[in-house]
């Protein structure tokens, strides 16, 4: 049994942000995450660092929060943000009055929006449709949610926090209105670990109600699925937004070597219903192609979906519920040391974390103050890295390697074949993989993906799978076939809704390759899958 001041449930951006904040204030804490960090809504979001503009007209509180956090994050977390800027465009038949309201609302809420001429917009974004009639520039940016979360986790660890992935909360032991013990299953080996925390913070996003139910409480919330499609290639320099009342298929986010289009909004019953459908893919391509026509002829590589936990259950449409967050102190419902936080956005995670930490700190009587708006998330030591490795690669590797750039580069330059490109879609080096294979957090091949982007490109693990698997089994005693099958299942889930044109051909080819190399035909694969289920 392990005592701790704070136990945080959930290793998405919210949990990670709280962990960093509280650890820096000197709290003793443990964070547990059932899967890998950022594998919930966080890693399945659109990756947009909002400027607030999208919410200016209908949700002014969110808008103001986003505007402030946008500036802060660009300062403290620039390693995972591409400050590309964004443009809002109205098309011919869009409500043009909305554009005027938009500009004045931006002014009121503190969002820096500026009208530019159609010619200027086309010059900035040559791929834009010639049909646009008005355009506004805003400071939107593209953010890597995996890196942002891992950055917070590592920063918390630097301040002595314990963060454990593959640890799932199973049960609470409640004693006279206090959560006395939290029973956690270690999914790496099936063992049970017991924590005795003074305060429990429920940051489990879409699962918040499920966690609350362990304390016989319920949280009123609705689940709203949003899907996105990864389009091969960067079609735009910055983000493109449709200027209209927020609806589906409004946004294009350039991210690494792709453009991500989204999103939809569909009510669902369970956080596990996070699969994008072919209909959603069709819809999103049609809708966003009105802004960037080339999307219609581009290759859709993958589709994925995340679940938004929205506070309240009264209203019918997911988009009308405020995107600002809700902080619940369950002492009012009879559990003294239990706090839940739900809703919000990736963009405002830091602010949410600050509010939660304030509450926790006052309960614990901590005196340290919040410094997350000032201290850079990671103090990466870039010294002589650039001298040791070709600079274009160095930039990318350093960006992805959080605090470990020096060690990662060392692997790349000193290991046999460390500089070999294993994943050419995303330019991932064998040395990077080899570093992360030895990291305590990495269990599955997809954990390597979230840390290095291996397998995220247009072949979706088609070619890198061989190098990826061989590197992993050099450093792990896991059954390679099990690793392989798990990875393939995960990748296929996202490919299924886009099986047409390029991706269809790709999948046929991969089927042959993987069957040929690993003798993994449909039958033997089915057997493995059955084994995994058991």
């Amino acid at each position: 049994m392990q005592r701790t001041e704070v136990l945080i449930i959930g290793g998405g951006i919210t949990g990670a942000g709280i962990a960093r904040d509280l650890a820096c204030r000197g709290a003793e804490l443990v964070l547990v995450e059932a899967s890998d960090f950022s594998n919930g809504a966080t890693g399945r979001c659109h990756g947009m660092l909002h400027s607030g503009a999208r919410y200016a007209v209908n949700d002014p509180i969110s808008a103001t929060e986003c505007a402030a956090e946008n500036t802060i994050l660009k300062r403290i977390a620039n390693f995972c943000i591409e400050d590309t800027g964004g443009i809002f465009v109205s098309l011919k038949n869009d409500d043009l009055d909305y554009a005027d309201r938009f500009l004045s609302s931006c002014k009121k809420t503190g969002v820096a929006a500026k009208e530019i001429t159609v010619e200027e917009a086309l010059k900035k974004e040559p791929m834009l449709s010639k049909e646009i009639v008005r355009a506004f520039e805003v400071p939107d940016a593209s953010v890597d949610p995996f890196l942002l979360t891992l950055g917070n986790i590592e920063s918390a660890r630097e301040a002595n926090a314990i963060a454990l992935n593959y640890h799932s909360v199973r049960e609470f032991e409640i004693n006279e209105g206090v959560i006395d013990k939290v029973i956690v299953e270690n999914l790496r080996n099936g063992s049970v670990e017991i924590f005795k925390p003074e305060i429990v913070v429920n940051a489990s996003g879409a699962w918040a109600n499920k966690i609350a139910s362990l304390a016989n409480l319920s949280i009123e919330m609705t689940l709203d699925k949003g899907s996105m499609v990864v389009i091969n290639g960067r079609l735009t320099n910055g983000l493109i937004n449709r200027l209209r009342k927020p609806s589906s298929g409004d946004i294009i986010v350039p991210s690494y070597s792709s453009s991500i289009i989204g999103t939809t909004s569909i009510r669902v019953d369970s956080p596990n219903e996070n699969k994008a459908t072919e209909e959603e893919v069709d819809f999103l391509i049609r809708e966003t192609a009105m802004m960037i026509p080339d999307i219609a002829i581009s290759r859709a590589v993958r589709a994925y979906a995340g679940i938004r936990p929205l506070c309240g259950s009264d209203r019918s449409c997911g988009r009308e519920i405020s995107r600002t967050f809700q902080l619940i102190d369950h002492s009012e419902q009879g559990i003294e040391n239990f706090i839940s936080v739900i809703g919000g956005k990736l963009t405002t995670y830091r602010l949410m974390a600050e509010r939660v930490s304030d509450l926790v700190a006052s309960k614990l009587g901590l005196s340290g103050s919040c410094k997350t708006a000032i201290d850079p998330l990671l103090s990466v030591n870039r010294e002589d890295i650039h001298a040791r490795i070709a600079s274009s690669i160095a930039n990318r590797v350093v960006r992805k390697s959080l605090l470990f750039a020096n060690d990662v580069i060392q692997r790349c330059t000193e290991e046999l074949r460390g500089m070999e490109v294993v994943c050419s879609c995303e330019e991932v080096l064998r040395g990077e993989l080899s570093y992360w294979c030895n990291h305590q957090d990495v269990k599955e091949l997809s954990d390597l993906m979230r840390r290095t982007r291996v397998g995220m490109g247009y072949c979706q693990g088609g070619l890198c799978i061989f190098g990826l698997l061989s590197t992993m089994i050099d450093h792990s005693d896991r059954d390679p076939m099990e690793l392989l099958v798990r990875f393939i299942i995960e990748r296929e889930r996202g490919v299924e809704p886009v099986l047409f044109r390029g991706q269809l051909k790709e999948e046929f080819f991969k089927e042959h390759l993987i069957n040929g190399v690993y003798h993994l035909d449909a039958y033997s694969r089915g057997e493995y899958e059955k084994d995994l289920e058991r």
């Binding site: 091969n232 290639g233 002829i297 390029g502 051909k505």
Partner: protein, 350 residues
Amino acid sequence: MNVALRTSDCIKCSACNTVCPVVSIDGISGFSGPRNLVVDLPRFFAGRMISSQEIFKCTTCWKCEEVCPSSLPLPDSILRLREMMFNEKNLVEGHKRIVENIDRYGRSIEPQLGERMVYVKHEAEILYFPGCISEMRVTSIFDATVQLLEKADVKFGIPANWVCCGAPLEKIGDLNRLESLREMNLMRFGRFDEIITSCPGCTTQFFRHYDRDPLHTIEVLWEATRKNRLKFKPPRNSIRVALHHPCHIKRTIGPQIIDQAYDLLQSIPKVKIVELEDPDKCCGGGGGVVAGFPDLALKLATSKMMDACRSGADILLAPCPFCVLNLRRVDIGRVEEFITFINVYAEREA
């Protein structure tokens, strides 16, 4: 359409990299290969491209496109990127020279022999466009072509004041200069629609950028032998020859010309044809590589000449002035230009 979009149907089979002659010589670290350059990298940039000299190492042999199961326009995309990257101030030494020569002489190379005379003997029905190399470097091509066309009774003329077709400019990405050369040439071609060329580079250029359908000399000669206007006498001693299949004939103008070249060789008595192991392997002479990366071009040519020696041929025949120039830089083996060789044995049919 941007490059990333044109090549987005890649399935990553790597067939292109496997057959790329430059990858085979320079390794993936020296030349990261067609897939990386025109499929993978352009995805990271919206309508822009990083500057890298590497892209100028491609010989435009078109081999990658031939094997690509998705038939992606790979060499074309490489040329497109060169065009986007073109910056007169950043050219490598050899490419700078091409541009200077064109500006000064209207030729891609510096004149060495003084300009050849304008040759119009008959009431011309068709134009012969000699091209820079045949006119001033491998001059035997010019002489042989003129003699052969005469023997075959072709009523041809050479346009006065022609300028370089622009093929080298396309290869270094200078499409503005190419355009002005094109206009000058078209003006000088006047009423003539039909053009004969003795250089696959010119031939390719005319159909890619001039919207013409030019004939290669081999096609004209083949036609003439079929119509019994030409016949061949045997050499004194029998000769073993091997035929190099130039990339720009085999994969851009059309493989039928290679067949025609074999037909012509077969009709010369006592000429024995031996096969090269990999007859359409690139000799390194194209794509501006001889000018830009002479060492790389030499290595490719050496590999070709080794093949020729292994085949047991006395002479390696190459129907392309660029190939001949580059192959002759190698110290081993003997290279002859194809038309020049044919001309020695061709006679007017009585």
